[in-house]
Symmetry: C2
C-alpha cells in the first residue's frame, strides 16, 4: 500500500517540529547577531521599540516653523536663526519664524511648518538680524509636522516573533537604534550522499561512474532555505561504512537533522535501508513520481530523512516535504509562490500517483520540460517551476489549468 503525499508530508512536518522543539527545550532557540549579519534571518521573539519614531517632533518640509496661533494674528515674522540638523532646537522666540530643513527638530512653541515655496521671499537667505518673512495667514496646527511617536511609540511592539528580516525590517531596527538582533538559529543539517558509483565533481570518472550531483544540489537548496549545512560527504555503499559515518558526524556536529540521498529503494543493494532497517526510521513508498521511495524517522534522538538518489527525485523530495516543513516550523524559507496556470502542452501521468513534472513558466502558461525521468537534471536546470499533477486524470490537455510552484 502506497502512502499518500499528504501523509508523508505530515510525518516530515512532525519530525522537523520535534527537532526544533528539542532545541527550544535545551535553550538553544535564539542567538544574537549584529544587524549587518541579520539579512533573511527570523526574529526569535517580539521586539519592543526602545525609542519612539520619530524621536521628536520634526519638520516634514524645508520651510519655516511657526506658532499656528501667531499666524492667525499676523503674517509678517522676524526670521530667527535656523535650527541646525542634529542639534536641539531652542524655544520659538515670540513673533518669529524659524527656518527648518526636513527632519529638523521643531522649536518648543512651534506647531506648524510653512513650506519655503509659500513664503515671501520664497528662498532662504543667510541669517541676518532684522530680516522678515511673510507667511500665509491661519496656518493649521500640525501642518507639515511629524509628531513624535507618530510612526511608532516607544514600548510598543516593533516587529513580532517570526518576522523575516529583509531591508525594510532591518531599516526599522536600525532606526530604533537596535544594533544586535535575537534571531532563530539556522537548523543544522548533516548531508550524506551515498553510492559506490558517485565521484565528487572535479574528479575523474571511471567506467560505470557518475558525478555526485546530490551534495551540491541539496546543499544549495538547504542553504537557500536558511539551513546551515554542517557537513556534506559521500559515503560508500557499505552499510557498516554508512553507520560509522553517520555516528561520527552526529557525535561531532550535533545536527538537528540528517538528510541522506540514495539507498532507500527496493533494489538488491540499498545501503541506507540495510544500515537503518529495524530502527526508528520508516522506509515508505509514497504515491509520488519522482520521489516514490522515502525514509523518515529518528536515529537516536536525531531527525532523519532519506531521499532517493536520483538528483531530480532528491530535489522534488526536498521541495515537496522538507521545504514546506521548514517554512511552517521556522517561518523561513518563504513558501513557494503557487499559481494556477494553463498547460502549454498536454501531459500524461500514471493513475493513482501524484506526479511532479518540471516546467518553464513564461508568465502566461507552463511548458513541461523534459519527460518524467528522474535522471533529467539538464531539464531540471532549464525549469523554473514544478507542475503538480495529483492522482486523478491520466492526461491533461493543453490549455487545462494546473497548479504550479515557482522554484
Amino acid at each position: 500500500m502506497r502512502r499518500a503525499v499528504s501523509e508523508h508530508r505530515q510525518q516530515v512536518l512532525d519530525l522537523v517540529r520535534s527537532a526544533w522543539q528539542r532545541r527550544l527545550a535545551e535553550g538553544r532557540g535564539e542567538e544574537a547577531v549584529p544587524l549587518a549579519g541579520a539579512l533573511h534571518r527570523v526574529l526569535a521573539r517580539d521586539l519592543t521599540a526602545p525609542v519612539s519614531l520619530p524621536p521628536f517632533a520634526n519638520s516634514q518640509m524645508d520651510g519655516y516653523a511657526v506658532s499656528s496661533r501667531a499666524t492667525a494674528a499676523g503674517t509678517v515674522f522676524a526670521v530667527a536663526p535656523p535650527v541646525p540638523a542634529g542639534r536641539a532646537a531652542g524655544p520659538l522666540p515670540p513673533g518669529c519664524a524659524v527656518p527648518v530643513m526636513t527632519g529638523a527638530m521643531l522649536p518648543a512653541g512651534a506647531d506648524a511648518v510653512v513650506p519655503v515655496e509659500q513664503a515671501v521671499p520664497d528662498t532662504f537667505a543667510p541669517f541676518e538680524p532684522g530680516r522678515t518673512v511673510v507667511l500665509p495667514a491661519n496656518v493649521p496646527a500640525g501642518q507639515y509636522v511629524r509628531a513624535a511617536g507618530s510612526d511608532i511609540a516607544a514600548g510598543t511592539c516593533a516587529l513580532p516573533a517570526g518576522a523575516m528580516l529583509k531591508a525594510g525590517q532591518l531599516g526599522l531596527l536600525a532606526a530604533l537604534g537596535i544594533a544586535e538582533v535575537p534571531v532563530r538559529p539556522r537548523l543544522r543539517v548533516l548531508l550524506l550522499s551515498t553510492g559506490d558509483e558517485v565521484v565528487a565533481p572535479g574528479g575523474t570518472l571511471g567506467p560505470g561512474q557518475i558525478y555526485d550531483a546530490n551534495t551540491t544540489l541539496l546543499s544549495a537548496a538547504l542553504a537557500e532555505a536558511g539551513c546551515d549545512v554542517a557537513s556534506a560527504r559521500i559515503v560508500a555503499d557499505a552499510p557498516e561504512a554508512f553507520t560509522r559515518a553517520l555516528a561520527e558526524d552526529v557525535e561531532r556536529l550535533a545536527p538537528d537533522l540528517v538528510v541522506s540521498s540514495g539507498g532507500i529503494s527496493k533494489g538488491a543493494f540499498e545501503v541506507v535501508k540495510q544500515a537503518l532497517a529495524g530502527g526508528g526510521v520508516d522506509f515508505a513508498s509514497v504515491a509520488m513520481q519522482p520521489g516514490g521511495p522515502q525514509a523518515a524517522g529518528t536515529v537516536g534522538e536525531t531527525a532523519f530523512l532519506g531521499f532517493p538518489g536520483n538528483p531530480v527525485s532528491s530535489l522534488v523530495s526536498f521541495e515537496m516535504f522538507l521545504r514546506p516543513a521548514l517554512s511552517s516550523v521556522l517561518a523561513v524559507p518563504a513558501p513557494r509562490t503557487v499559481l494556477q496556470v494553463p498547460l502549454a502542452a498536454p501531459v500524461e501521468s500514471p493513475a493513482g500517483i501524484h506526479q511532479v513534472r518540471r516546467g518553464r513558466y513564461d508568465g502566461a502558461a507552463v511548458m513541461p520540460v523534459g519527460g518524467p525521468g528522474s535522471h533529467l537534471v539538464h531539464a531540471l536546470a532549464r525549469s523554473n517551476a514544478l507542475i503538480q499533477l495529483p492522482p486523478g486524470a491520466a492526461r491533461r490537455e493543453a490549455g487545462e489549468n494546473v497548479e504550479v510552484w515557482l522554484i
Copy 2:
C-alpha cells in the same frame, strides 16, 4: 519642470550599463568560484557540457538487462552475475539476463531492461551458477534504458551566459563534473550616508539626533540584490568632508558605483549637492513621491547615484531605479513579481506625481499601510508590497485594480 520616472530610470540604467561595460573592457567581467560558493551567482558565459548525461546507457529500473532480440526467440534466461554500481559492465553473455539496479551501466549487447516485478521469480536472489529467470516475450528495444546523452550530449550548451545558479542549475554543473564556475563578479558599491543628525545604531542619541537607518537598509537591499557593499559609512554635513570621504573611498576601494543618501534636496544645507554641483552629477526633481529629489551621474569615471535621506525614500529610490537596472544589466536580482490586485481601501495621490505607497498584500487584495510620509519606516517594515499609483487619478477606490510589486 519635473522629470518623469521613466526618464530617470533610463538614466540610471545607462549609468549601471556603463559601469558594467567599463568592467568588461578592463577584463574584469568574470571570476571563477567553486560550486559550493556559486549559489545565486550568474554565469559569465555559456557553459559547454564536458561529458554526456547520462555518461553511459544505464537502467531506469531495478531489473534484468537483456537483448530485446533474444526475448523474441525465448523467455528463459540464465541469470548472470549482477553489475555492481560504479563498475564497468562486461559484455552480455549469450542467453543471459543480467541483474541491474537503477543507474547501473548496461552490459554491451543489452538494449532493454525488464523490471524485476515482471520476472519470474519477481525478486532477486544472490548469484549462483545455473539459476534461470523467465521474462516476458518480445520486450521492445530501449525499454527502461536511459540512453547515453539522452539528457544532454557532450559538447552542447549546458547553461547559457546570464543563467542564475540555483539548486537545479548547480546540480546540473555538479552532474557534469564542473567544480569551478565562471560567474559575473558582484557589482562593488560604496555607500555613503550623510547627515550631522544621524548616529549609528547602538550609539546614544543626543537632542535632535536620529539613528542612521539608511546604511543598514541600503546595505541589506544591495546585498539581497547581489551587490558587494564594499564600504558603508556616515559622513557629516560638510561638503569638504563629503568630498574627502568620497575621494578616499573611491581611491581605496575602486567601486563600480557610489550610492549616497541625503543632501540632494532644495534645503539650505544639502551636502551632496554642494559638494558635487557643477560636476558630472545631475540633481533632478523626479515626479515621484516619495523619492522626488534624485541625483545621478559620474564622479571622475565612477557612476554615482544620490538618493534622498528619508529611509522610505531611499528604499523606494532603490526599488524604482537601481534594482531594475541591476536586473536588466546583470541578470541578478530577479525582477520583482508584479501583480494587478484590488485595493482593500481607497487611496489618494497628488496630481501629476507617480506615488509609491507601501502595502500589505494578503493573496487577494492590497491594504495600504501607513500614509504617504517618507519617514514611516515602521509602516514600511510591516509591508510586503509597493503600490504603484502613476499620475492620473487623484483617488482610487477600494476594489479598483492597482499594480503591486512584491518586496
